[in-house]
C-alpha cells in the first residue's frame, strides 16, 4: 500500500522537470530573526581604557584545569525585554548559564555557574569583590552585565578577571537584538576561551544536520539547524522527502543539501532568507555530496553518469559551466577544500577500496595520501589547515585525523560506526555522527583533538550528518 503510493509519487515526479523549486517540502514558518547571520555590533561604551587586553597567559599548560567562577550577569535596571519574560535580571542569570554551559560542555576548564554563586551588583562588574572569589578558590572570574536600550536592543558586557592577580584580563561588549541574546553569551564564552587557551573562538557558530525519526526501514530525515550548543533548533524541511548531507555556506545564507523531493537524489541550494531552493546544476543525473569552497564562490558536487561518479565544481552564484575535476572510472566522491582554497582532499576507490587523495583545485596533480591500515573516507580539511579528519574503516568505523600528507594518523573515537567528521571553526574540535548497531539510531557527538573530551550533543530527535559552520560575524 505504502509502496504503491510511493511509486505513484515517483511516477508523477519522473516526468516533471524541476529546476527552480519553491515550497515543496520546505517548512514555511521559519523565523528569519532567529536564523539570520547579521554581524553583532561590538561596543566599547564602558568608559575606562580601550578594548580587550592582549598578551600571553601566565600558565598555558594548566589552563584546562582552571577554576572559573561565572556568576549571574548584573543589570543596571530591571526592565522588560522580549529576550526574557521575567526581565533583564532573569536574563542576566540566563546569559551566565549559557557561558557556563559552553565552557563546561567542552571539557575545557572547571567552571562554576551562576546557580551556585552569589550575584554581584551592577557596580561590582567593573570592580569585583576579589576577596569573595578568592574565598571560593576561583582562579578566574567572568562577570558581565545586560542593559535594555530604549530601542529594545540589548547591550551585554563581558569581563574576565584573574582573581589571584586581581587584574582584568579581557573585556568586550556587544549590542544585539533581543532574539539574539544567546549570541552575546557565546561571544563572551569565546572571549574567555580564546584568552585563556590561546586558540581561536568557536562557540558563536551554527550547525546544520539531519534530524532522524521513525524505524530503521522507514526513517524520516529532515534538514534542521541549531546553534553550536543545540539551542535555537529549527527544522527546515517537513520530512516528506528524505534529506541528507547538508553544508552551510560560509556566510550562513544558504545550505546545500541532498533531497529526494523529485524522486531522485539531487543537490539543492536552499536560501535561508527567501526560503527558495534551486538545483545545484541543471542535469538529469543524480548529484550528491555538496561542499562549499572556503570563500563561498564554488560548490563541489559529485555526479554519477551511467553509474560512474566523479567530482565537479560549479559557481555558487549559479550559471556557468560545471568543471569536471576527476575522470577516473572509479567512484570519486566528496571533497573538502584546504583553507586557502588551493587544494581539495577527496575520496576515491580507484585503488580498489576507499582511500583519500589530494588534488589541486583545478583537478590537476591527483595523488593518494592515505597509506595507513584501513580505508579512508569522508576526508575534511581542518579550517587551520594542519589536519585532515576522516572516517577510518578498519572493521569498525572511527573518526581519525592525519596530516595533509597522510602522516601521523590518530584515531579519536571507538564507536561501532562513527563517521562524517566536521570541524569546529577553530580546528580544535570535531563533530561526527554515531550509529548504533541494530537499531541504527544515530546521534551527533563531538571530540577534541586529544580524543579525551568526547560528548554527545543533545538534539530533540536522532541526528546525523552534522556540518559545522564558521564563527558568526
Amino acid at each position: 500500500m505504502k509502496k504503491a503510493a510511493l511509486l505513484t509519487a515517483i511516477a508523477m515526479l519522473f516526468s516533471a522537470p524541476a529546476f527552480a523549486q519553491s515550497s515543496g517540502d520546505l517548512l514555511p514558518d521559519l523565523d528569519p530573526a532567529g536564523i539570520s547571520a547579521q554581524p553583532v555590533e561590538t561596543t566599547m561604551d564602558d568608559g575606562g581604557e580601550n578594548g580587550p587586553l592582549r598578551g600571553t597567559v601566565t600558565d598555558d599548560s594548566a589552563w584546562q584545569d582552571t577554576g572559573i567562577a561565572i556568576p549571574a550577569f548584573a543589570t543596571n535596571r530591571e526592565q522588560p525585554t522580549p529576550a526574557n519574560s521575567s526581565g533583564t535580571t532573569a536574563l542576566g542569570q540566563e546569559l551566565a548559564r549559557v557561558v557556563f554551559n559552553d565552557l563546561r560542555n567542552n571539557g575545557l576548564f572547571r567552571p562554576v555557574g551562576p546557580d551556585a554563586l552569589p550575584r554581584p551588583s551592577y557596580e561590582q562588574i567593573t570592580a569585583p569583590a576579589f576577596s569573595t572569589w578568592q574565598g571560593r578558590s576561583a582562579e578566574m572570574l567572568v562577570q558581565g552585565y545586560v542593559r535594555a536600550g530604549t530601542d529594545g536592543r540589548l547591550t551585554v558586557g563581558c569581563y574576565l578577571y584573574d582573581v589571584a592577580l586581581q587584574s582584568e584580563l579581557a573585556r568586550e561588549g556587544w549590542v544585539v537584538l533581543p532574539s539574539e541574546w544567546r549570541r552575546a553569551a557565546h561571544k563572551c564564552a569565546d572571549l574567555v576561551y580564546s584568552r585563556l587557551s590561546g586558540e581561536s573562538p568557536f562557540f558563536d557558530s551554527r550547525i546544520a544536520y539531519i534530524a532522524e525519526t521513525g524505524p530503521k526501514d522507514n526513517r524520516i530525515k529532515r534538514l534542521a539547524i541549531m546553534d553550536s550548543d543545540g539551542a535555537n533548533h529549527r527544522f527546515i524541511t517537513n520530512g516528506r522527502a528524505t534529506a541528507l548531507t547538508p553544508r552551510y555556506s560560509p556566510d550562513y545564507r544558504k545550505i546545500a543539501y541532498l533531497s529526494y523531493t523529485d524522486g531522485n537524489p539531487r543537490i539543492y541550494v536552499y536560501d535561508i532568507e527567501t526560503r527558495q531552493q534551486v538545483l545545484v546544476t541543471e542535469s538529469s543525473n543524480p548529484t550528491f555530496a555538496p561542499r562549499w569552497s572556503p570563500d563561498g564562490r564554488w560548490i563541489l558536487y559529485s555526479m554519477a553518469i551511467g553509474g560512474n561518479t566523479d567530482i565537479y565544481r560549479v559557481s555558487a552564484s549559479g550559471g556557468g559551466t560545471p568543471m569536471r575535476l576527476t575522470d577516473s572510472p572509479a567512484i570519486d566522491v566528496g571533497g573538502s577544500y584546504s583553507p586557502d582554497g588551493s587544494q581539495i582532499v577527496f575520496e576515491s576507490d580507484r585503488s580498489g577500496a576507499q582511500q583519500c587523495y589530494v588534488m589541486n583545485a583545478d583537478g590537476s596533480n591527483q595523488r593518494r595520501i592515505s597509506f595507513a591500515s584501513g580505508r579512508c573516507a569522508t576526508p575534511e580539511w581542518s579550517p587551520r589547515g594542519d589536519q585532515i579528519a576522516f572516517t577510518r574503516i578498519a572493521g569498525d568505523f572511527n573518526v581519525a585525523v592525519m596530516t595533509p600528507s597522510g602522516g601521523n594518523v590518530r584515531v579519536l573515537t571507538n564507536g561501532w560506526q562513527d563517521e562524517a567528521p566536521t570541524w569546529a571553526p577553530n580546528g580544535r574540535i570535531i563533530q561526527f555522527f554515531r550509529s548504533e548497531r541494530g537499531s541504527g539510531d544515530s546521534s551527533i557527538w563531538q571530540v577534541d583533538l586529544t580524543g579525551d573530551n568526547l560528548r554527545r550533543l543533545q538534539t530533540p530527535v536522532g541526528a546525523s550528518d552534522p556540518a559545522w559552520g564558521p564563527v558568526l560575524p
Binding site: 504503491a4 511509486l7 530503521k216 548531507t245 543524480p286 559529485s302 554519477a304 566522491v333 560506526q417
Partner: protein, 170 residues
C-alpha cells in the same frame, strides 16, 4: 567444482532452447537466449493488471532483485538469470517502463553508498539493455543505504540489502 555445475547448467539451457523452437506463440521471443521458459501469462481474471508492479512482482517471484558482494557491482550468473526473466517480462509487455533501484548496506559511508547504489542500478540496467530492452524504458535511482529491507546489523542482513531491484512504473 563450480565450473562443472556451470557447464551442466549451460548444456541443459541449450537442450531447453533446442526443444522450445517450434511454436512462436503470439508473444515476440526474448532477444538472445531463452534460458528459462517464458512466464506463462497468468490468466487470473481478478489478478493484478499485467504490466503493473503487483503483476510484475508476483510473476518474478524474487527475480526482480539481484544481490551484490560488499562494495561490488558485477553481474554474476545468478543475476543474469534473474535479469533475463525481467527482460522477458519487459519484452512481453512492451509498453511498460521500469525503475532499477540501487541499494547499499549500512556498513558504508553515506556518499559512497549513494555512488555504489548508482553503480549497481546501472550495472543491472546495462544488462537489461544488452538483452534488447530500450534504454528509454529504464531509469535508475540510487537510495544508497537509506532503504534497507532487512534492518538487522548482521552480515546476512547486509547481504540482503546490497541489491538492485527492478520496479514497474505504474
Amino acid at each position: 567444482m563450480n565450473r562443472i555445475v556451470i557447464a551442466l547448467t549451460m548444456s541443459s539451457v541449450l537442450a531447453l532452447a533446442a526443444c522450445k523452437k517450434e511454436p512462436p506463440e503470439e508473444i515476440p521471443p526474448a532477444p538472445r537466449d531463452v534460458s528459462t521458459p517464458a512466464p506463462t501469462p497468468a490468466p487470473a481474471p481478478r489478478g493484478p493488471q499485467p504490466g503493473s508492479q503487483a503483476h510484475f512482482s508476483s510473476a518474478m517471484a524474487g527475480a526482480d532483485t539481484i544481490y551484490f558482494d560488499t562494495d561490488q557491482y558485477d553481474i554474476d550468473a545468478t543475476d543474469m538469470a534473474a535479469l533475463r526473466r525481467q527482460a522477458e517480462y519487459l519484452t512481453q509487455y512492451p509498453s511498460t517502463r521500469a525503475t532499477v533501484e540501487g541499494h547499499a548496506d549500512e556498513r558504508g559511508t553515506r556518499d559512497y553508498n549513494l555512488a555504489l547504489g548508482e553503480r549497481r542500478a546501472n550495472a543491472a540496467r546495462a544488462y537489461l539493455v544488452s538483452l534488447g530492452i530500450a534504454e528509454s524504458r529504464l531509469r535508475t535511482v540510487s537510495y544508497g543505504e537509506e532503504r534497507p529491507v532487512d534492518t538487522a546489523s548482521t552480515p546476512a542482513a547486509w547481504a540482503r540489502n546490497r541489491r538492485a531491484v527492478t520496479v514497474m512504473i505504474d
